[in-house]
């Protein structure tokens, strides 16, 4: 299967039927049906069943379908996973992960459900969210804690509250978590997504922040409104020059393979494995943007 792109993950309140029904049409790479922050305590049961039924009945096409469950430290987390797991979402976004143990608890649960439901083993991914000082402290281990983990992300609001930082639009206070998350993800060989940009009407601000996290190396970003999807995708869309260069690199590597030559060079610069990987990535983004 082709590797998924994770430029955008759109949060959708798990208690809003019409938004759940339409969640797949806005073109985000993933949707996150949210049972946690978006749903008030007295609606947790209803939302859980609504999302379960949506997973069973709505065709979201190629969109990656994630459900954010409540933490296992709340009275709702286990029931969420028990019900949602059996409807087989592509992944479970787990909030407030702080230790390896948190991941192992989820993993055990999923192992059992997959066996009982005769789902393919490890077919439900785990997407840990780091939202506290302790979580960030342990993020290198968390990122490697399960084969099910393909991407990690963080929640800026909870994290800044936990460490006592002031939350600003500019986001300087997130520099540390961003670079550490990135490093942890790369050490573990997985992807990393940025937190949401909460100012829905400030498209320019969103674009600035997305350009910055792309520059850092992030693979994508969570979004809270459909109008944020296109601007983020545009930031992640490579330029014509980048595409042309990537094509030439791939062409050169194929030619080299044919000739069975080892080291190759293009325009006088050596083309090695990371360069090729980067070129492939550029072409993936270009294809997702409809440019190939």
């Amino acid at each position: 299967m082709k590797k998924r792109l994770r430029r955008t993950a759109l949060y959708v309140p798990g208690n809003d039927p019409s938004m759940i029904q339409n969640a797949g049409i806005f073109g985000s790479d993933a949707i996150v049906l949210d049972l946690e922050d978006a749903v008030s305590v007295n609606e947790k049961d209803a939302a859980r069943l609504l999302v379960r039924n949506a997973l069973k009945n709505i065709n979201y096409g190629n969109t990656e379908v994630i459900v954010r469950i409540n933490s296992f430290f709340t009275p709702f987390g286990k029931d969420d996973l028990e019900i949602i797991g059996r409807a087989h979402p592509d992944g479970i976004r787990v909030p407030k992960v702080e230790t390896i143990q948190d991941i192992q608890n989820i993993e055990k649960f999923l192992d059992r459900i997959e066996a009982e439901e005769k789902f393919e083993k490890n077919s439900i991914k785990i997407l840990p969210s780091i939202e506290s000082a302790l979580g960030l402290f342990n993020v290198f281990e968390i990122a490697k804690a399960s084969q099910r983990i393909e991407v990690i992300n963080f929640g800026a609001e909870d994290y800044t509250a936990d460490i006592g930082a002031e939350r600003t639009k500019e986001g300087k206070e997130l520099f540390d978590i961003r670079t550490r998350m990135l490093l942890a993800a790369r050490v573990a060989g997985i992807e990393v997504q940025d937190s949401v940009f909460a100012h829905v009407r400030d498209t320019e601000g969103l674009i600035r922040e997305t350009q910055f996290i792309k520059q850092l190396g992030f693979d994508g970003k969570s979004v809270i409104h459909p109008s944020q999807i296109l601007p983020v995708h545009q930031v992640f869309t490579p330029s014509q020059e980048e595409i042309a260069r990537a094509k030439r690199i791939i062409f050169a590597i194929k030619e080299a393979e044919k000739k069975k030559s080892g080291v190759i060079s293009l325009d006088g610069r050596m083309v090695d494995a990371p360069v090729v990987a980067k070129a492939r990535r550029v072409l993936d983004y270009a294809q997702a943007a409809g440019l190939l």
Partner: protein, 511 residues
């Protein structure tokens, strides 16, 4: 009998007579003469100013059973329909046929005149409460629904004979020259009233802004106007023109609008000389905006924008994206102002706009039009008249005219409205036949009329993914279940006349 698109219609309808079945959008060749009028004239000493409306209608010879017409340029701010009908009710008149170009919620009081017997039939257009009343069997004679072009055709062909046209005039002079761009009730174009003025037996202009002779510019000239009556107010400006119309913020509708713009680009029509029509709904405005952006980006100058004109079209004219605008009705204040100031912003009559049986109407030169639907079926037949419960709720507007005229007719609609599927197996009422509809754009996919293989090829080349329309309706039904069909009695309460004068469908009374 069944007409060309398989709709069951009778040979004859009580109160209307023998009818001609729809035979295809372009198959009627008219053979009658144009209507004619007796010569009426004014001697040099005769005045046209009449002191009050009562006097004017008496002079015009009002009688039971006559047909009177109104235009809808004052839209939801109109006072004139109510003013005239209340007066005629006081005079004890009965059995009128009213021929409005459209009715709005503000005209709800027409219902009481229907119940009292003043109004016994309607030809033209209905809306909400009056449509609902007809759907429940208020009239013995079915409502004849016509498009803007079809109405102009019917008038010019003498099929809709207007005895008295009441023309609300935002500006008038004492000798009957009229326009819509000045005065407290300025509405812009008077396009829909022009055909009535030319073809009615008697024409009464009603104004709240009387100016010294001569009024300039002249939209409807003195040679057609019999009487001028001054009143306090012909309308409420708040209901006449909106301020700046808003582009939709609904993300789902924005998805649709963006796809429509992509479709227009991929069709190959977006080049110098491009002509375009889109309405004033939030989705249409978004499409207009996206198309304008593409035209700017591509350095294209179009020929014209047409139809109901909005500030967004005015902006395109100002930015030189169109050579001119053809304005049959002005939706907002920007459009009114532009009609007044910009010589390239042209006022046009309903006949000029869309009558299929004159020597060439504007829609014949349209490249692309964006239209809506209350339903669209597997044959691309579109319903804009009846709701999913079978009740007549809407007029036709220019739907069937622009669909037939444009090279690319796009229906832009969500797949579902609430729990109601819009893409269905079979529409309840056919307004525009599938042969005139090319592309359906929904948030869940795009379907192209299989007759348009040329478009299918172009869209494939542009890597636009397409679905077939059956799959789209299945997707809708998968989400909603198959809705129960509305139930009707045998009684026909409405006749949908195609723009060429044939009958494309009938609407029956709901049970």
């Amino acid at each position: 009998m069944k007409n060309k698109i398989g709709r069951e219609i009778p040979d004859e309808i009580k109160g209307i007579g023998k009818i001609k079945p729809f035979m295809g959008a372009f198959s009627t060749i008219p053979s009658c003469d144009r209507m004619s009028l007796p010569i009426t004239f004014k001697n040099r000493d005769e005045k046209k100013i009449i002191s009050n409306l009562k006097e004017a209608v008496k002079k015009a010879g009002i009688k039971d059973g006559m047909t009177v017409s109104f235009h809808h340029h004052l839209r939801n701010g109109d006072y004139v329909v109510a003013m005239v009908l209340d007066l005629l009710a006081d005079l004890g008149i009965k059995n009128l046929t009213i021929a409005p170009t459209a009715l709005f919620p503000v005209h709800k009081s027409v219902t009481k005149h229907i119940e009292s017997g003043l109004v016994s039939s309607i030809q033209g257009s209905v809306n909400g409460p009056i449509g609902a009343l007809s759907s429940h069997g208020a009239f013995d004679v079915p409502v004849i629904l016509r498009s803007h072009g079809g109405r102009a055709r019917a008038i010019e062909a003498g099929e809709l004979k207007i005895d008295i046209a009441f023309i609300a005039a935002p500006s008038a002079d004492q000798y009957g020259n009229l326009n819509g761009i000045e005065g407290p009730s300025a509405c812009g174009s008077l396009g829909y009233a022009m055909t009535d003025a030319m073809c009615a037996d008697k024409v009464i202009a009603i104004t709240d802004h009387l100016v010294d002779y001569p009024l300039f510019p002249i939209s409807i000239p003195q040679i057609y106007v019999d009487y001028v009556v001054q009143v306090d107010k012909i309308g409420d400006p708040k209901g006449i023109t909106s301020g700046t119309l808003e582009i939709t913020k609904n993300p789902l509708r924005l998805v649709i609008a963006r796809r429509v713009a992509e479709i227009i680009e991929a069709s190959g029509l977006l080049k110098n000389g491009f002509s375009f029509q889109a309405g004033a709904g939030g989705t249409s405005l978004a499409v207009t905006q996206f198309v304008a952006e593409k035209m700017t980006e591509m350095g294209i100058r179009g020929s014209f924008g047409s139809g109901g004109i909005t500030g967004y079209f005015v902006k395109m004219l100002k930015e030189n994206l169109f050579k001119s605008l053809f304005d049959v009705q002005s939706f907002d204040l920007e459009a009114v102002q532009s009609l007044k100031d910009n010589p390239n912003h042209l006022e046009m009559s309903a006949s000029f706009y869309a009558n299929p049986h004159n020597r060439g109407c504007v829609v014949n030169n349209l490249d692309a039009v964006i239209l809506g639907a209350t339903q669209i079926d597997h044959h691309f037949n579109v319903n804009v008249n009846t709701e999913s419960d079978g009740v007549l709720l809407h007029g036709i507007g220019g739907h069937m005219d622009t669909a037939a005229g444009a090279k690319l007719t796009i229906i832009a609609t969500p797949l579902l409205r609430g729990r109601i599927p819009i893409v269905v197996d079979k529409v309840i009422t056919v307004t525009s036949p599938g042969e005139t509809v090319d592309v359906l754009v929904t948030e869940r996919g795009i379907a192209v009329n299989p007759n348009r293989k040329d478009l299918i090829d172009k869209f494939k080349e542009a890597k636009i993914s397409l679905k077939n329309i059956q799959d789209l309706s299945k997707e809708a039904y998968d989400l909603t279940g198959i809705p129960e069909e509305p139930r009707f009695t045998e009684k026909i309460i409405g006749m949908v006349e195609y723009r060429d004068g044939t009958v494309i469908d009938v609407i029956r009374q709901v049970k």
